[in-house]
Symmetry: C3
Subunit: 375 residues, 3 copies
């Protein structure tokens, strides 16, 4: 009896020590443990509401994309309860800046609820429609490139994060309402951003024109002389691609473009994965802040696992993905908090064991949602 | 020292193993443990908001009836804080369908607060009054029986759950505002439902006309050929009777009807209690889903304990009630979650260790609130 | 291995036993432990919303002053997330009674957010300005002394708690908006209260005119015949003074008055500290309820530590302050709840290990915020 107790206790105590970041060995995935980690992350995040400007802003938007995908995989009603709760209190509103891609990210969760919770007169997608129509069809100084920004805001989605915020919503809205025009518009604006920010050599996205070298007299460089490719920025694009492809018609004429872009980014991201499984916040200058960063890594892990599960990349990469998950898991505190998340920003900056954000939790949930589907 | 620690540890570890459902022995009731279980249930539920349509709907309504009764027994301000918090954010509103009994269940908590929290200009019972007056005195197609439903919606409260949702509110509102007319109206509509759905032979309620055999060419039957009597459905009626009687004037002319109905149901429910203490979701076909179900069982336990505490049934049934409480307690997870709750539904369906709903927590709190008063 | 585990376990179990109130030894302060206790208090309180009338009332106001000061010291984003969350859902409103000092206490947190969270179009201080202007410049029957109160409401701030509720807000608003007139108005009304309620002999404040002996035919007395000086009431004034002085211009003409008053109160409060570190709810009749009370004690501890940290009182008092902190800490439950808080009231009444209020948690956070700055 005493021996059993001591063994159990040892397990408990060892488990309690895992808050510090550790090199993760590539063990098998215990799916019940994955589910349990995900629920703990959700519970902690729900108990710690945070936002930049409002509970409808992009930080919540990205978080609830993770919650929606966790529900899609597990069907655990804990996720749906959280989704409905925020939607109700947010009154199904987007945030307010109709020209700003960030402010419609939350609508991904609203559309998801509408597709999965068949109750009459519950979901209200009018504010989403109103936003999308204004965003796509009304002129503004971002589209016109006449705002006062010093760094080349000549297109609607002038920063790479935007490719997570609006396109998956447009894509899902097009599918949900059977209106392909929203997908066509998505593609039009997507190409503008791709043409401005995609680096074909590195197969990565610059965050915005400040970090594009070509035609730039004074581009930002890393201390090691390389280009600045931000892990989370590329995570936004890469995971956004998985979300888009997941709901894009298989016969959509531009689908090959997205599949190809996905594969190119997957190649680059896999090549850049550090030994311990987690990407550094600066992809080409990992030595700047030499620790795993969870928001970017979570997005990469999700996208890679999704690619394996959907046949876009080879199954041999499962090892890399498992390693990443184990390392992500080691960044979760015992109480559920997902640490090592770089704060709100626009380029590589350090994180810490305690640093957290709702979108970091969202990235963690996204990763888990596809890890659970691995063979 | 080591020995003491190991003993303490053993207690902790054994306690930690109680999440699985177990046959409960009929031990004594430790009232401090009951209180502690109840508070843990409340805290877990407050941290996991859930609803069908809105935080004012019947699911929250039933939950906060449990919270109110827990406060009435214990006076623990934790319950009152939760009651006031939801009422404030719900702005003292009912849900919106004025013909639907479900949508006024939340008002039980509002009236309770008004009776127990003497602060000027705090509680607003106007929305409740407006609902009740429309519900009772305005015509609608439910009352007229002209709605499109295929299964006999010819009366206002055409499903047995309704007898928990509206009558206790009407009864308490009549008492609180000293307007007996609301009690008289309650009785009028209660009799309609009783006449349609009460099975005098089984002393149980059919959920709705689909499950009434008399005059029904194609009634629903259980696999074993018996009538379908849903545990939670009868729990709604039975616990609703205890709530009504608790606040009904002792000299009310129709009180003997409610007392008699209570006693008949108590007899049936006691007779049907399984050996392990918890009722199956199908009362006459327990083998369909052969596990205890917590929402129905919680309501039965509350109603039975209330009957003992108020002299309506014999004290010898205390053993059955204690057994039920211990078994309910064994369905609570270590973190406070009350599991084994059948999801939202209208007839017997299975539950699981993990399935939960706020109204299940409400049933648990109701049960505890009367268990604490047992001799 | 087993030995290590047992040692660790012993620590855990001993820690778990600390919910009961104990005499605290004057040990060194472990600042990581202080931070951890503070965060646990915050998390528990955020999970247990409570108010008297609304989430904008003085109870929340006092709590979020504590949260703001905890953020000011630690910069932990957990505090800022909580501050922003309540402000957003409260829509930056004060509570509604424009003549009542209580109802603007919440604005301290709004101004704090505006000073520390530099986001455009986020904070809205218009409701605060509207309140303050009405409060200061519009006539009402409190100022006129013509309300119906039986106990001498002849001035705007007729009860000593008011000196925490409004003056620190006015002082900070004056600084934040660079409008000294608000500070001048503060001083005018402060002096009225000081002149009515300050007892120069005892160097303490009567709660209101019921407790002032001079010119009172029937003043309230303690059982031991002494004057009634309420610990929390004096805690409101004393900690309010620290808040005011912290943001008052060093060259403000009336600053010496506040510094002197602070020093007089500090002398009295230090002299009255019981051996175990925590003040009784009745300062001159500690035997009435002979246990430490946390809300008053938290405010005193904050004010004393602030005085040491800012050179207003001698560093030799550090021992007394540390002792108080350790004793406060012993009143915190393992789950974070801060117990031994006297309920809402207006004079000495007992508390218990389980009694809590958000303003008690606020007092705890205030204390911790200055304990962390001690040498």
């Amino acid at each position: 009896m005493n021996k059993t107790i001591l063994t159990l206790l040892a397990v408990v105590l060892l488990f309690n020590c895992s808050t510090a970041q550790k090199v993760a060995e590539v063990q098998a995935i215990n799916k019940e443990e994955v589910k349990s980690s995900m629920i703990k992350a959700l519970e902690w995040q729900e108990a710690h509401p945070i936002f930049a400007l409002a509970p409808t802003d992009w930080t919540a938007g990205a978080y609830y994309v993770g919650v929606a995908r966790a529900h899609k995989t597990t069907k655990d009603m804990m996720y749906m309860a959280a989704l409905k709760n925020q939607a109700y209190w947010n009154n199904w509103q987007t945030y307010t800046r109709l020209h700003h891609a960030d402010d419609v990210a939350i609508s991904y969760s609203y559309i998801y609820i509408d597709r999965n919770e068949k109750r009459k007169n519950f979901v209200d997608l009018e504010p989403t429609k109103k936003f999308l129509d204004a965003h796509l069809y009304e002129d503004d100084n971002w589209k016109a490139g006449t705002d006062k920004s010093e760094y080349g805001r000549t297109i609607l989605w002038w920063w790479c994060d935007a490719l997570f915020m609006a396109p998956p919503v447009l894509n899902l809205y097009a599918k949900h309402t059977k209106q392909p025009k929203y997908l066509d518009e998505m593609h039009k604006f997507y190409m503008q951003t791709y043409n401005q920010l995609y680096d074909e050599e590195e197969q990565l996205f610059a965050r915005d024109m400040r970090f594009v070298w070509e035609g730039n007299d004074n581009p930002t460089k890393e201390p090691n002389g390389k280009k600045v490719f931000w892990s989370r920025g590329n995570g936004w694009v890469f995971s956004g691609l998985a979300l888009i492809l997941d709901d894009m018609p298989t016969d959509y004429e531009h689908r090959p473009f997205y599949e190809n872009l996905y594969k190119e980014m997957a190649e680059a991201i896999l090549k850049l994965q550090p030994e311990d499984g987690l990407w550094r916040t600066s992809l080409l200058c990992p030595e700047s802040y030499d620790h795993g960063e969870v928001s970017g890594s979570g997005f990469h892990t999700f996208a890679l696992a999704w690619g394996i599960n959907n046949g876009l990349i080879d199954k041999k990469h499962t090892t890399a993905v498992k390693k990443a998950w184990h390392a992500l898991k080691a960044c979760q505190h015992d109480d559920g908090r997902v640490g090592w998340v770089q704060n709100i920003g626009a380029f590589p900056e350090p994180a810490s064991a305690d640093s957290w954000q709702n979108f970091g939790t969202g990235a963690f949930l996204l990763a888990g949602s596809e890890i659970l589907k691995l063979d």
